[in-house]
C-alpha cells in the first residue's frame, strides 16, 4: 500500500480517534472515578510526576462503584425504562404522522416535489431551541391552542398539556418528523408506479395493493426513519426539560441533573456509558438494515 492510500484511509480513522474514541475514553475513565469536592470534581487524576508509583496508584483507585450504585437506586432504572417507552411511542407516532406525508409527497406531481421537500427541511433553518420554546407558547394553559379551543367553545376549562408526557410526545414528533419523512419519501419516490398498476391488473383493489406492495417495499425507509427518530429521542434532554416539567422522567434529563445540579461527574458519566451501550444495539441493527438495502440495490 502506498503512502497516498494510507493517508486517505488514515484521515477518517484519525477523525474517529480524536472525536469519538478519546472523548469516550475520558468519559469512561471518569465513570470509574470517585466523587470529590475539587476541580475537576473527581479523583483520581493522573499525576505523572510520581512516576510508576503514581500510575499504579491511579489505576488502583478506579472501580465499578458508580455502576453498582446505578443498579441500587431505582430512579435510574425507571428513567431508562421511561425513556425507552417514550422513545418507542414517539417513534411510532412519528411514523403514523410521517408516512402519510411522505406518501403524499411521493404521489404529488414531480414539479411540486422539490417545493414540498423544501417545506419539510425548512424548520431546520431555525434554532431547535427556539422552536421548542415556541411550543410552550402554543401548549401552555394560556397558550394559543387552549385559547382557540376555549373560543370555539369545545372546552370550558383550559387543557393541561404543558408539563405532561403528551407535550413531550408532541415536541419529539414535531422535532424529528423530517428524519422520518425523508427516508420513507426516498423509498416511495423511486418505487415504480407500474408495480401498483400490475397489482391492480392482477385483481388487487387499490387499498390492498397498498398493504401488499407499497408498504413492504417502503420497509427499508420505515426502518431507517424509525432508527433516526428513536436513537436521538432516547437520549433527548431539551424537549422533556422544557415541555415535560417534573412529571416526565427521562434519562437525558437525569444525566443533565447529575452533571450540572449534583456536580456528580462520575455517576453522570456512568449513566452516559450505559445509555451509549443501550444505543449501540439499535445502531448496529440500523447499520445492518442499511447494508442490506445497498446489497438489494446493487
Amino acid at each position: 500500500m502506498n503512502l497516498a492510500r494510507r493517508t486517505l484511509i488514515g484521515i477518517p480513522y484519525l477523525w474517529l480517534l480524536l472525536l469519538f474514541l478519546v472523548p469516550f475514553g475520558i468519559i469512561f475513565k471518569i465513570s470509574l472515578s470517585d466523587y470529590a469536592v475539587s476541580i475537576p470534581p473527581y479523583t483520581p487524576t493522573l499525576d505523572l510526576s510520581e512516576g510508576w508509583q503514581g500510575i499504579r496508584g491511579f489505576f488502583a483507585a478506579l472501580d465499578w462503584e458508580n455502576y453498582v450504585f446505578l443498579t441500587e437506586d431505582d430512579l435510574y432504572w425507571r428513567a431508562y425504562l421511561s425513556s425507552l417507552k417514550i422513545a418507542v411511542i414517539s417513534t411510532f407516532l412519528t411514523l403514523l404522522v410521517g408516512y402519510p406525508i411522505a406518501y403524499g409527497m411521493a404521489k404529488s406531481a414531480p414539479e411540486w416535489r422539490p417545493m414540498l421537500m423544501m417545506l419539510v427541511i425548512l424548520p431546520f433553518w431555525t434554532s431547535f431551541l427556539i422552536r421548542v420554546y415556541a411550543w410552550i407558547g402554543i401548549l401552555s394553559n394560556e397558550g394559543y391552542l387552549n385559547q382557540l379551543l376555549l373560543w370555539t367553545g369545545i372546552i370550558s376549562d383550559p387543557l393541561q398539556i404543558m408539563n405532561t408526557p403528551t407535550a413531550v410526545y408532541i415536541g419529539i414528533v414535531y422535532t424529528y418528523l423530517p428524519f422520518m419523512i425523508l427516508p420513507i419519501y426516498a423509498t416511495l419516490e423511486r418505487m415504480d408506479d407500474s408495480l401498483l398498476e400490475a397489482a391492480e391488473d392482477l385483481g388487487c383493489s387499490r387499498l390492498s395493493a397498498f398493504w401488499i406492495i407499497t408498504l413492504p417495499l417502503s420497509r427499508s425507509g420505515i426502518i431507517a426513519g424509525s432508527f433516526l427518530v428513536f436513537i436521538p429521542a432516547l437520549g433527548e434532554f431539551v424537549i422533556p426539560s422544557l415541555l415535560g416539567g417534573s412529571s416526565t422522567l427521562m434519562i437525558g434529563k437525569v444525566l443533565w441533573e447529575e452533571f450540572f445540579s449534583n456536580r456528580d461527574w462520575p455517576v453522570a458519566s456512568a449513566v452516559a456509558i450505559i445509555l451509549l451501550l443501550i444505543l449501540v444495539i439499535p445502531i448496529i441493527l440500523f447499520q445492518k438494515n442499511q447494508e442490506k438495502n445497498q446489497e438489494a440495490d446493487a
Partner: protein, 378 residues
C-alpha cells in the same frame, strides 16, 4: 406453426358471422387539449395475435391502457366479449397485461409473483400450486421458482412477467413492448416462444410495439398507427405487399419512393411519368387511385440489377452505382438515376465477395415487372 403462415386457416376477420372479442366504436381519448386517440374503430377476434404498430407517441400505448382499464375513453365505447367496459376497473376485467418494465414485485419470489393474481381470484387454495407449476413449466422457469426477481437474468424476468400475466388465463393478454429490453438474439428467440405460447393457450394477444420486424413476425394482423389514427389494419404480408398509403409503405421495411403524375391503365395498372426524358413507370394501381399526383412505391428486393439492358420489360432505367451496403446474405445497391434520384436495389450474394459482378461507379440497368410496384395517391 404461426397464424401468419397459414392465413387461409385462421382469418376470422374475413368471416362475416364471427363476432369480435374486442370492439372499439368511435373511441377518442384526449389528455387536456392533446388528442392521443382520434375516433378509432377496431375489431379484434378471439385467438388473434394483434399488433399495434407505430412510432412513439402515436397512441398505441394509450389504446392498450384503455383495454386494461388504466385509461377511460373520452368518447366512444369499448366492448370486450360483448360487455361494455365503461366504469369497470382494471381489477375486475378479465384482461391481464405484461408491462414494458415487467413490473415484477421485487420483494416476492418468482413463485409468489406468478401466484399473485391467483391468490386474489376465486381459485381454490389447493389448485394454486398446480397452476403456478404449470406456468413455470410453460415458461421453463421451474429452477428459478424460489429466486427473487433481482437474482435472475433479463430474459428470465421477461418470462416471469409473461407467466404471471397468463396465470389467471385471461380472455385477453396485453403485451406492452414485451421484448424491448432484450438483446437482438434473445428477442428473436422469444418472439417464437411468444407465438408458441399464444398457440398453446389459445389466448387473444394484443401487442404494442414500435419494432416493425417484431410485429411482422408474431402478429396475425397488424394495425399501423400514426397520430392517434389507425392507418391500415391487415395481415403482415398484405401490409408489406399492398400498403394503402405512402406512410405505411415507408414505415414498414425499406422502400423506394418516386413521385410523379399518374394515369390509370387497364387491368388495374397505372403509369407514372416522373422525370423528363424517362419512360413512364408501370405499376399496380393502389386502392382509390385517381389520375394526378401520385407516388410509386417499390421494395428494393423487387428491383433487379443487371449489367446488360434486360429485354422485353417496360420498367427499365439506367444508373450508376453510388454505394453498396454489404449485409452478408444480401447487398443493397444505391443507384443514382440520371435525374439524380437515388434508387435502392437488393440482390442476394450467392457468389463470394471477390467474384461480385458490380462495383462502385459501374453503369447498371435496374428493372422490375409491371406488378412489382404500387402507384399510391399521395
Amino acid at each position: 406453426m404461426k397464424p401468419a403462415a397459414k392465413p387461409a386457416e385462421f382469418a376470422p376477420w374475413l368471416d362475416p358471422n364471427e363476432t369480435p372479442l374486442i370492439r372499439f366504436d368511435g373511441v377518442t381519448k384526449r389528455f387536456g387539449d392533446f388528442t392521443a386517440i382520434d375516433n378509432i374503430d377496431l375489431k379484434i377476434y378471439r385467438k388473434e395475435f394483434y399488433a399495434l404498430l407505430g412510432p412513439s407517441g402515436c397512441g398505441k400505448t394509450t389504446l392498450m391502457r384503455m383495454l386494461a382499464g388504466f385509461e377511460t375513453p373520452t368518447e366512444g365505447t369499448i366492448t370486450i366479449g360483448g360487455q361494455d367496459m365503461k366504469g369497470i376497473p382494471p381489477n375486475r376485467r378479465e384482461v391481464n397485461m405484461m408491462f414494458q418494465s415487467y413490473a415484477l414485485f421485487p420483494h416476492l419470489t418468482v413463485w409468489d409473483n406468478i401466484a399473485f393474481g391467483l391468490k386474489r381470484s376465486k381459485m381454490g387454495k389447493e389448485e394454486i400450486p398446480e397452476r403456478v407449476k404449470e406456468m413455470l413449466r410453460l415458461t421453463r422457469l421451474e429452477k428459478f421458482a424460489k429466486r427473487k426477481p433481482h437474482q435472475i437474468s433479463g430474459g428470465q424476468r421477461q418470462r416471469v412477467a409473461l407467466a404471471r400475466s397468463l396465470a389467471k388465463a385471461p380472455k385477453l393478454l396485453l403485451l406492452d413492448e414485451p421484448l424491448g429490453a432484450l438483446d437482438a438474439k434473445l428477442r428473436q428467440q422469444t418472439q417464437f416462444e411468444l407465438m408458441d405460447i399464444q398457440e398453446k393457450t389459445g389466448t387473444t394477444f394484443v401487442i404494442v410495439t414500435h419494432d416493425q420486424e417484431e410485429a411482422m413476425t408474431v402478429a396475425s394482423r397488424v394495425a399501423v398507427m400514426d397520430n392517434g389514427k389507425v392507418i391500415q389494419v391487415d395481415t403482415p404480408a398484405r401490409i408489406y405487399e399492398t400498403p394503402n398509403s405512402v406512410y405505411v409503405a415507408d414505415f414498414i421495411g425499406d422502400v423506394n419512393l418516386i413521385t410523379g403524375n399518374a394515369t390509370l391503365k387497364d387491368e388495374g395498372l397505372a403509369a407514372l411519368s416522373w422525370a423528363e426524358g424517362q419512360p413512364e413507370i408501370i405499376g399496380t394501381a393502389g386502392e382509390g387511385l385517381s389520375a394526378g399526383n401520385a407516388t410509386f412505391v417499390i421494395r428494393p428486393e423487387k428491383v433487379a440489377i443487371s449489367a446488360e439492358r434486360p429485354e422485353g420489360m417496360n420498367n427499365v432505367v439506367q444508373g450508376r452505382i453510388h454505394d453498396i451496403a454489404y449485409l452478408g446474405n444480401i447487398s443493397t445497391y444505391h443507384v443514382a438515376l440520371p435525374d439524380g434520384t437515388m434508387m435502392k436495389a437488393q440482390a442476394a450474394n450467392n457468389r463470394r465477395l471477390s467474384r461480385r459482378s458490380f462495383t462502385w461507379e459501374d453503369e447498371v440497368w435496374l428493372s422490375w415487372t409491371d406488378t412489382a410496384g404500387l402507384v399510391l395517391a399521395r
